[in-house]
């Protein structure tokens, strides 16, 4: 039986990818941020999963306005890093896990989540930056990855509650897979950020930290927070945080072990938050 062993939460700011790719990680601006992921890289080495289920959002890369899936699951064999306008990031191809991805799709669609199944797409910084933060700059990513894209670009986006319940359905799906796989689920995006308008650059340190507290201790209550609260308190792009609730919903109901917690301002326009939770 497959099972979810741990969940990882992290921002996926594109500038972090650029800093890595351009060799700037030791610069004073970036050093404290990458320092915060040193533990995480070691932890991942010691806790290698067989598959990573990676929840992220596409930033007008694979999905234009022609077609906007609320939830899209990748069942392909491989995904190329996208050219987002600066040229593709120099990172490895992402290898998928078609069998487990299809199994999860099958199960959660029967549980009334109306997924879009995707067999061909490029993946943008939303997916590759978390891999870089957790794995550094390897020749190949350490294991297959199932990309799970959430619409947080065009309103309405799915509610926190919907995301949390989806996480639960994913947990059930993983646990019904008959191969003995260790699966990690990663929730990415956030924390506070606003990338647009006169209000750009908003950071709400207090709100972010309260979000981290509640994500650990009372995720179901946290999932009741409305869209408008995210936007008002964490900025227009802070809404990405609903994706963390998918990962959290996939964890077991008992209290998780907090292996790592990190918070830093700034990365480009954004606050960076990071958590590692293990199932006990």
């Amino acid at each position: 039986m497959a099972r979810i062993t741990a969940s990882v939460y992290t921002s996926h700011v594109p500038a972090i990818g650029a800093a890595l790719d351009l060799g700037k990680t030791a610069e004073p601006y970036w050093q404290p941020l990458f320092q915060g992921y040193e533990y995480s890289k070691a932890w991942l080495q010691d806790n290698q999963p067989d598959v990573i289920f990676l929840v992220y959002n596409d930033h007008a890369t694979a999905f234009s306005l022609d077609l906007i899936p609320t939830f899209a699951i990748g069942t392909a064999a491989a995904y190329q890093p996208a050219d987002e306008g600066w040229g593709p990031r120099p990172v490895p191809t992402v290898i998928g896990h078609p069998e487990l991805a299809s199994h999860i799709a099958h199960s959660v669609i029967q549980d009334d989540f109306d997924l879009t199944i995707v067999n061909k797409m490029d993946v943008d910084h939303g997916l590759t930056v978390p891999l870089s933060l957790m794995c550094g700059q390897p020749q190949a990513w350490p294991c297959p990855v199932i990309p799970f894209a959430v619409n947080v670009v065009q309103y309405p986006v799915p509610s926190g509650r919907r995301c949390f319940n989806l996480g639960r359905a994913i947990r059930k799906a993983v646990e019904s897979y008959d191969q003995d796989l260790k699966v990690q689920i990663w929730g990415t995006g956030g924390m506070s950020h606003q990338l647009q308008g006169p209000r750009a650059g908003l950071i709400n340190r207090e709100w972010d930290n309260r979000f981290l507290d509640r994500l650990i201790s009372e995720p179901e209550a946290l999932s009741q927070v409305s869209h408008i609260d995210y936007v008002r308190e964490a900025g227009s792009e802070g809404i990405e945080l609903v994706m963390w609730l998918i990962a959290r919903g996939a964890m077991s109901d008992s209290a998780p072990l907090v292996k790592h917690r990190f918070y830093h301002v700034p990365a480009s326009n954004t606050a960076v938050g990071h958590l590692i939770l293990e199932n006990t």
Binding site: P14, A15, A18, Y29, H59, A60, T61, S64, L65, D66, A82, D83, E84, G85, W86, G87, V153, Q154, Y155, P156, S192, Q194, L195, Q196, G197, P198, R199, A200, G201, L202, I203, N204, R205, W207, H227, I228, V231, R232, E233, S236, E237, V265, P266, S268, N269, A271
Partner: protein, 124 residues
């Protein structure tokens, strides 16, 4: 439409909903086209001519030419789409975001290093 749009009262913020999306459809799809290296090259060679290939409004084209991102957003642009213009120009996301705030690049960067914009900004 009589659906609630509770987000209309948030200062300095435009929520990209279906209405904005409709308004900005061709503007945003133009931006998507810049994800191909050959299109970036063609755009840079003659911006106006490239824009004229798209059924955008004149206002949208002028806003793009002026790199006025606030205006682009008012005309239906979404920042993740508009970012492709910045990428084509070789600008960072921080430069793009800062350009919308009325601050200089250095001022904006300094604000971020100092912990970012106060979340109570513009609220009463």
């Amino acid at each position: 439409m009589s659906l609630d749009k509770p987000y209309l009262d948030i200062p300095g913020t435009t929520i990209f909903d279906a209405e904005q999306s409709r308004k900005g459809y061709h503007l945003n799809q133009f931006c998507m086209s810049l994800m191909k290296a050959e299109n970036r090259k063609r755009f840079k060679a003659d911006e106006r001519a490239y824009l004229d290939e798209w059924p955008m409004t004149e206002d949208q084209k002028l806003a793009v030419l002026a790199r006025d991102l606030n205006r682009c957003i008012a005309l239906g642009g979404n920042i993740y789409f508009l970012a492709k213009i910045g990428a084509t120009d070789g600008r960072s996301f921080q430069q793009m975001a800062g350009s919308m705030t009325g601050m200089s690049e250095d001022e904006y960067r300094a604000m971020m290093v100092a912990g970012g914009r106060d979340p109570m900004w513009g609220r009463n």
